[in-house]
């Protein structure tokens, strides 16, 4: 219990620091640390899969994105960065937020004591999905439509980002980091870490059906490796008009839809799996899905095209 109190205070301390510090770059760095501490909180709340996702996606990729943005914006730290709103607005905002926090805190305390849960239903029906880990069972079987729509949201976010590019750069290349010395440390690390990282990513994806892991966590690690390789200058990001890239992006949801529609025939309903070979079907969905998510995450980090294709 003491550890929980310590972690809670640490999380709040970091959050206060993030909100109150003046320098945007420091806030972004704090956010990465904040994300890692929240990962520990997820471990304490007995949610290892969520801890993996939070570490990889919540603090890793989001932190990287925010760090990259704050450095690009920091170069032109305009005069407006320091000034804040008038004291009156800050006080009223603080009042409103304190009110909302107090209300939520009161509600959390007043939650019904025999907490309503769906764990028994999940346990009762998990045999039909052929998986042991309940989370992929919920994500890929019971609420498969949410996961499907969510991957479509990811692809749509990518298209939304691409559409921000100026017309003449439409099928160009994303921003290239100012190359950090071809023979530098980063290149060496990329050559060493990339294969290990890809192995770890595939391992985490593979054990997802049995132990904590799954396609989102594995895909995030694969995306991180791809970004590391491009940042080290070993490979360049493909231009967005490349046909194979678009196919890799779409193959995941396409297979998901195909097997979902096949569910009409073999299991009587959309996204239904016959219990006998549900596990194999889910696996055939997850492999291309991991590829699509990894590609989408890496391209989201790389940013809209800023260089014309050669």
């Amino acid at each position: 219990m003491a550890l929980d109190i310590f972690l809670g205070l640490l999380v709040l301390g970091l959050a206060v620091w993030i909100v109150s510090t003046r320098d945007t770059l420091a806030a972004a760095v704090e956010f990465v640390a904040f994300g890692l501490v929240v990962t520990l909180v997820w471990v304490r709340l007995a949610a290892p899969d969520v801890a993996l996702t939070e570490a990889a996606l919540g603090s890793g990729l989001t932190g990287g994105l925010l760090l990259g943005a704050s450095t690009r914006l920091a170069r032109a730290e305009t005069a407006t960065s320091g000034e804040r709103h008038g004291a009156v607005l800050r006080l009223s905002a603080a009042g409103v937020c304190a009110l909302i926090s107090a209300a939520i805190a009161a509600l959390v305390i007043l939650l019904p004591e025999p907490a309503p849960t769906l764990a028994p239903e999940v346990a009762a029906n998990i045999a039909a999905t052929g998986l042991e880990n309940p989370l992929p069972a919920v994500l890929m079987a019971y609420r498969a439509i949410d996961t499907l729509l969510e991957v479509v949201v990811l692809l749509l976010a990518l298209l939304a980002m691409w559409s921000l590019a100026p017309d003449h750069l439409w099928s160009g290349l994303p921003w290239r980091p100012d190359a950090v010395g071809r023979d530098g440390v980063l290149t060496f690390v990329a050559q060493l870490l990339a294969p290990v990282g890809i192995l770890v990513g595939i391992h985490i994806f593979w054990i997802g059906s049995v132990a904590p892991g799954g396609e989102f966590q594995g895909a995030t690690i694969l995306a991180a490796m791809w970004i590391l390789v491009t940042m080290a200058g070993l490979r360049d990001m493909p231009p967005m008009s490349r046909r194979w890239l678009r196919v890799v992006l779409v193959i995941g949801p396409a297979v998901f839809f195909a097997i979902g529609l096949a569910g009409f025939a073999i299991a009587g309903s959309f996204l239904g799996y016959p219990p006998s070979y549900a596990k194999q079907l889910i696996l055939t969905i997850e492999i291309p899905l991991t590829l699509s998510i990894a590609a989408a995450l890496a391209l989201l980090i790389a940013g809209p095209p800023e260089r014309a294709a050669q």
Binding site: A106, L107, T117, A141, A160, D167, W170, R246, A267
Partner: protein, 509 residues
Amino acid sequence: MSKLALMPGLATAGGFLLVIAIILPVIGMLLALALRGPYPERIALVVMPAGVAVAVTITAELWRTRSVLQYFVGGWAPPLGVAFRADGLSAVMMLTSALLISGIGLFARAQFPSPREGEARAPSTFWTLLLAIWGALNAVFVGGDLFNLYVALELLTFAAVPLVSLDGRAETFTAALRYLLFALLGSILYLLGGVLFYAAYGTLDIAMLSGRIHAEPVAWAAISLMTAGLLAKAALYPLHLWLPPAHAGAPAPASAILSGLVVKAPFFLVVRLWFDVMPRMPEQAAAQLLGILGAAAIILGSVVALRQARLKLLIAYSTVAQIGYLFLMFPLAIRPETGHPWSATAWTGGVLQAISHAFAKAAMFMAAGLIAEAFGHDRIERLAGAGRALPITVFAFGLGGLSLMGLPPSGGFIAKAMLLTAAVSEGQWWWAVVVLAGGLLAGGYVFVVLARALADPIEPLRLSATASVRRQGVVLAVALCAILLGFVPLRPWELLQIGRPDLATIGLR
């Protein structure tokens, strides 16, 4: 007893149509994303008739069976699985969006032609986003699970925000960013409400939640947070700051979709929340608050619209005002215990207002687009001679204005008449005053535009490019839809009562 006529017992025969209504545009969008080049436009043109056909089939199936269509995705019944449900309201909204998106698609072919070889940014993005918006709208209209609706709302946001800054002008990036920030705030508040529901009642399925909910602090907090989030996304006053620059900055077909349909989805979810999730809770006071916000939106939106110098901004502020009308429905139609006779009239009036506004506003934005293309600008005081240069377009704009004002024979008139009768007969006369004042002000800003447009041009007109008669015909057709709604007899509107057993229909006879 749950307000929905069907407890989550069994999936109905026609249920799979709901799945097709969602996956058809989404698969089209994936294909468009993969194939690029001229294909997004062709895929959109193939999906449009199919989507209209599916919407018509769903409405026919609903009318025939007179019961809510229901489908359990993957065969898993709630609370574990996600259910799709379509009642009369969903079917009517799906039919409206299918017809309107097809109309806007035909109109947009000239503005976003995809080149034969190679690829251009705006056209391929527009057609792909058009399909994505259609899929997201259908997912919102049939969703039966609050978290599934959250994902559908996010799909809608990410499809709508890039439309605002599609032609790459600097000020549209500011408008798009502000729109995105408001939308994200709305989504997070909606999710916060959702988690409170799950923590308290153990399910996120609407039908089951309405069975388990009772008037306690956590239920009130969850509903108020979700409603606040949805109001931010629906741009109801005072959370409307993002709408005018966003809808005015977008290209014409995009603003038609944004004002006509995208803004209606959060309103639809507030209706789902108030009429389906909290049936047995005394919410008359809260409904009055929504009505007051709606009234404020009508008055202030119209007054600000009167003072606009640019045509598209005028129409955008008119959207802010007309959204206020939609929320007048809540204080009039919400009567859990007494089930007073006039709630059905107010309910039908509110839904009819949403539909007629969709068609009328889309026609006005498209007409404004054509005028801006021909004149090179859209400042109202220098629109003299537009009536002579683009007669059909200005006539369509006038028809749209007619429906907004609520003059017979338009659909807007029927909607406002129903709201008026419900307000007067329920004794809440103040809503009647607001409806009439709103109609008067709407008349004001429409006449301001028409007076300028029909005036004789002082110097001879130098038009850059007048649109083809076919494009103007499409705008006219959409405007006529708003008018024809007024000719539909009351009998078919009982379609809206399907899934609403409690709404007494005495008032409608």
